[in-house]
């Protein structure tokens, strides 16, 4: 399967009368977007704002981040099975509004999560301080059930991203990049001497605010399966996760999966990138056993020499990660795992909930418990009062050392787990720990 | 702990409920125990019966101490 990605570099976002992409500027008609979102009767109110790199702006509580893309050629359409019909994507041509992102924001349940600072200390920890963000803040009608609320916000974000992406359909891209995965037989002929390598992508799948969708399927109901890496670039995998800001994979992370990209870079040079095995992280232990058995079995069926396994979320996924690693190593296939750590604020606690000698090659996204101070910002998009900041994962109501997270001057002291994407377990960031 | 005793030059037998842990911590002579809250007992037995059970475990422990081993050995019987 072959996909061409055309990058249209976005240098600025502005509200305007006509929605369009022109001269590298994304113009957005706010009213049109509002109308689009308000089609869903669950949404009572919605507003949009723009946050740019370097500005004194804090966005919170962040739910998802989505990159605007549009299919220009090939089968299927963006976000298949969810927003469009379930037709295979990942082939033909796709345009990307590179540098822009749609950020969805708002409280859903008692758990709040996700801070994006556009400048200052916190900006170093989130990749979304470097994107031009169109932020959607939406509230549901009173009495909306939590499940419906989550779905409405998730769908609104996708709709907005697809709408914006569509603006790039007939714009000439600045750069084109081609990604191709030959079938297995051809791949072996092409690179007979390179190690056969695949990517095992673990998806969080546990219930409300903990779900991931593949072509519209709730992934917890699936066994491990195969997918072309280019399908992921076309929005085949979507995030319904709202609970672990630092180490969940937003939809943006999936669209730009860094393991996929770095494996493509090495493809034909040091490795033969065969494809992607996607697997889940369920609550029921027998599901975990079954899914990891299946990943290992498929790795063996594909005749692999090595895999990279990435994780999503905190706690119980450590068990899936170690199961996958152990079982795949037991087949004689070499593994590298990507995780993050909860080593306590002082870095002195056991980092992972599970461990095994087979896991001898580990890449870490850092210690999520490390405490940092986020200076006050001139502008808040969303809400940064005590009901959000102190209850956010990584925040606190009162702490013997630090007091409450939210200070009178608007500055915040939190563990970095509160920051969207800070310790991403796909290896999206440069941060690490030793 | 078991390794430090061994390192000091004293033969040691580890009576432990969770044998994999005992293997992990580096015991060389291992006797599996009954249950975590009562490794050398069983409250559902009568007093004398329970002591007999305890003694059977310790018999195994003594046997382990007087048996030459070359590596990690579990004394099941």
């Amino acid at each position: 399967m072959k996909l061409e990605l055309g990058y249209i570099f976005i240098k600025d976002i502005q509200f305007g009368n006509v929605s369009k992409v022109e001269g590298g500027v994304l113009y957005v008609n706010k009213d049109e977007l509002k109308k689009l979102v308000m089609e869903d009767t669950v949404i009572a109110s919605v507003d949009f704002d723009i946050a740019k790199p370097g500005e004194s702006v804090r966005i919170t509580p962040v739910k998802d981040v989505i990159e605007p893309r549009v299919k220009v050629e090939g089968t299927g359409a963006m976000f298949p099975g969810m927003l469009n019909k379930v037709e295979t994507v990942g082939n033909g041509k796709t345009h990307v509004l590179k540098g822009a992102a749609v950020v969805t924001c708002g409280k859903i349940v008692g758990f709040q999560e996700g801070i994006i600072d556009m400048s200052g200390e916190g900006a170093k920890y989130t990749p979304f301080s470097e994107t031009l963000n169109l932020v959607m803040v939406a509230d549901p009608v009173e009495g909306t059930k939590q499940h419906d609320h989550e779905k409405a916000i998730r769908m609104a974000g996708l709709k907005v991203a697809a709408y914006i992406g569509e603006l790039g359909k007939n714009v000439k891209a600045d750069e084109y990049h081609t990604f191709e995965t030959p079938n297995m037989v051809e791949g072996m002929k092409l690179y007979p001497n390179l190690p056969r390598v695949a990517y095992v992508l673990m998806l969080q799948t546990q219930g409300l605010l903990h779900d991931t969708y593949v072509y519209g399927v709730d992934m917890k109901q699936s066994i491990s399966t195969l997918i072309y890496p280019t399908e992921i670039m076309d929005g085949a995998i979507l995030s319904g996760n709202c609970v672990s800001a630092c180490d969940k994979n937003t939809t943006y992370h999936h669209q730009n999966n860094p393991v996929v990209h770095d494996m493509f870079d090495a493809h034909g040079k040091t490795i033969n990138f065969v494809g992607v095995i996607i697997t889940n992280e369920n609550v029921y232990l027998m599901d975990k056993e079954r899914s990891s058995d299946w990943s290992a079995k498929m790795a063996a069926m594909l005749g692999l020499d090595g895999v990279i396994i990435s994780q999503e979320g905190f706690g119980n996924p450590d068990t899936d990660l170690i199961m996958n690693c152990k079982k795949i190593e037991a087949k004689g296939i070499k593994t590298v795992i990507i995780t993050d750590e909860y080593a306590g604020r002082d870095g002195k606690s056991q980092s992972l909930a599970d461990a095994d000698v087979a896991a001898n090659a580990v890449v870490t996204g850092g210690n999520a418990n490390e405490v940092i101070v986020l200076g006050s910002m001139k502008k808040i998009i969303g809400k940064a009062d005590t009901t959000v900041v102190n209850t956010i994962a990584g925040g606190f109501g009162s702490d013997p050392v630090h007091g409450a997270s939210l200070k009178d001057d608007g500055s915040i002291i939190v563990e970095i787990q509160a920051i969207t994407g800070a310790t991403n377990e796909l290896g999206f960031n440069k941060m690490s720990a030793r | 702990m078991v390794k430090e005793i061994e390192r000091a030059g004293i033969p040691v037998v580890h009576i432990c409920t969770v044998v994999p842990i005992s293997l992990t911590v580096g015991a060389n002579r291992i006797v599996p125990a009954i249950a975590i809250p009562h490794p050398l007992g069983n409250p559902s037995l009568g007093k004398d019966e329970e002591k007999t059970l305890r003694r059977s475990l310790l018999d195994k422990a003594l046997k382990a101490l007087s048996t030459e081993v070359s590596g990690q050995t579990v004394f099941e019987n």
């Binding site: 020499d305 720990a433 | 078991v2 430090e4 005793i5 000091a8 009576i15 432990c16 842990i21 007992g41």
Partner: protein, 347 residues
């Protein structure tokens, strides 16, 4: 701003009081430097100064752990230092244990940064996950080298700065510290995998616990003449837990005399362990520490004798490994007492 105030912790040997024969000396606070402290002051230049030195005998410290720790902490606290240096202990095991204990306690209880230095095979290295330990040579001949490595860390910590990760600052890896690497994680993962596939050396970013092994000792030739000791990680203590052995932290051990004790009863013994349902052990502690049967063996002549003391800890199964330093210590005591064999019971 004035000079950074440093308090230095040393043992009897480093203080020039004497060797093993003086290891019993009690803690003493002296103004200024003692022994190697001068070398630190030279290295500090104008930035920092050792304002006081606490001297304590290694045996006194380890045999009176709680008391000694409290005394040492009080002395250190009285000088309100910005940073505390313990040692370096080089290859002296009990000194290493004391340095690790003091440094950890200073950080946890006084909230003052503290660190130590020692040889990588010192049993006190166990503390590397809890305190910063600078690797040193194996004898005091390496003092100059140790001071050169430790002095800059003392200044950094004394200024209240956070240390970078171990490989950047030169201390032993153990405490996890974040930093920004040159490549993103996914690229590092691909590079690591390529190396692993080629069979080349690669360095994991998070090492799993290491599993070193000790060769088994020869079997006991004649049990009927052997002195056998009981040790447990099941937390059995005299009723009321007189030494306040903590329920889980496993930071110390209990040593109890059982001369004349024939049977552990509900009235006399209990468990201090927090890692399992204590009901059964509290009703009859022989279920964890089988004194009753051992006494029978003794009477029957199956064993020579039951050692007059038992040792107890509360490490739960998985953390049994994390008690190296103090285990080494009571193991040495058992050896010195002529114990021929040990039965270690765990839950």
């Amino acid at each position: 701003m004035g000079k950074i105030k440093v308090v230095h912790y040393v043992n009897q040997f480093a203080a020039g009081i004497g060797g093993e024969e003086m290891a019993h000396v009690t803690p003493e606070l002296r103004d200024g430097t003692v022994g190697s402290g001068q070398a630190f002051n030279m290295a500090f230049g104008e930035e920092a100064e050792i304002v006081a030195t606490v001297v304590c005998g290694d045996n006194y410290f380890s045999e009176n752990l709680d008391k000694a720790k409290a005394e040492v902490l009080d002395m250190i606290k009285s000088k309100s230092p910005d940073v505390v240096i313990a040692g370096p202990a080089f290859n002296a095991g009990r000194y290493g244990f004391a340095c690790g204990t003091v440094a950890e306690a200073v950080e946890v209880e006084l909230g003052v940064p503290a660190f130590t230095g020692m040889f990588e095979e010192n049993a006190g290295v166990e503390f590397k996950g809890k305190v910063v330990i600078v690797p040193t040579k194996n004898s005091a001949a390496g003092m100059r080298d140790a001071v050169a490595k430790m002095a800059p860390l003392a200044i950094k910590l004394g200024k209240g700065e956070k240390l970078g990760p171990a490989f950047m600052e030169g201390y032993m890896p153990g405490i996890r510290v974040n930093f920004f690497d040159n490549e993103r994680g996914s690229k590092r993962a691909v590079d690591m995998l390529v190396k692993k596939l080629k069979g080349e050396e690669f360095v994991t970013e998070y090492p799993m616990p290491d599993f070193d092994r000790v060769e088994p000792n020869p079997a006991v030739k004649d049990l009927s003449k052997a002195k056998v000791a009981l040790v447990t990680s099941g937390g059995i203590v005299p009723k009321g837990n007189p030494d306040r052995i903590e329920s889980s932290s496993a930071s110390k051990y209990g040593e109890y005399v059982i001369d004349g004790v024939m049977d552990l009863t509900e009235a006399t013994y209990e468990t201090a362990h927090g890692g399992y349902d204590p009901v059964y052990a509290n009703l009859d502690a022989d279920r964890v520490l089988p004194v009753d049967v051992m006494r029978d063996y003794e009477k029957e002549g199956k064993i020579g004798s039951l050692h007059g003391k038992f040792y107890t800890t509360t490490g739960n199964g998985t953390s049994v490994a994390n008690s190296k330093a103090y285990s080494a210590e009571f193991a040495a005591k058992l050896k010195a007492d002529g114990v021929d064999a040990v039965i270690l019971t765990s839950t």
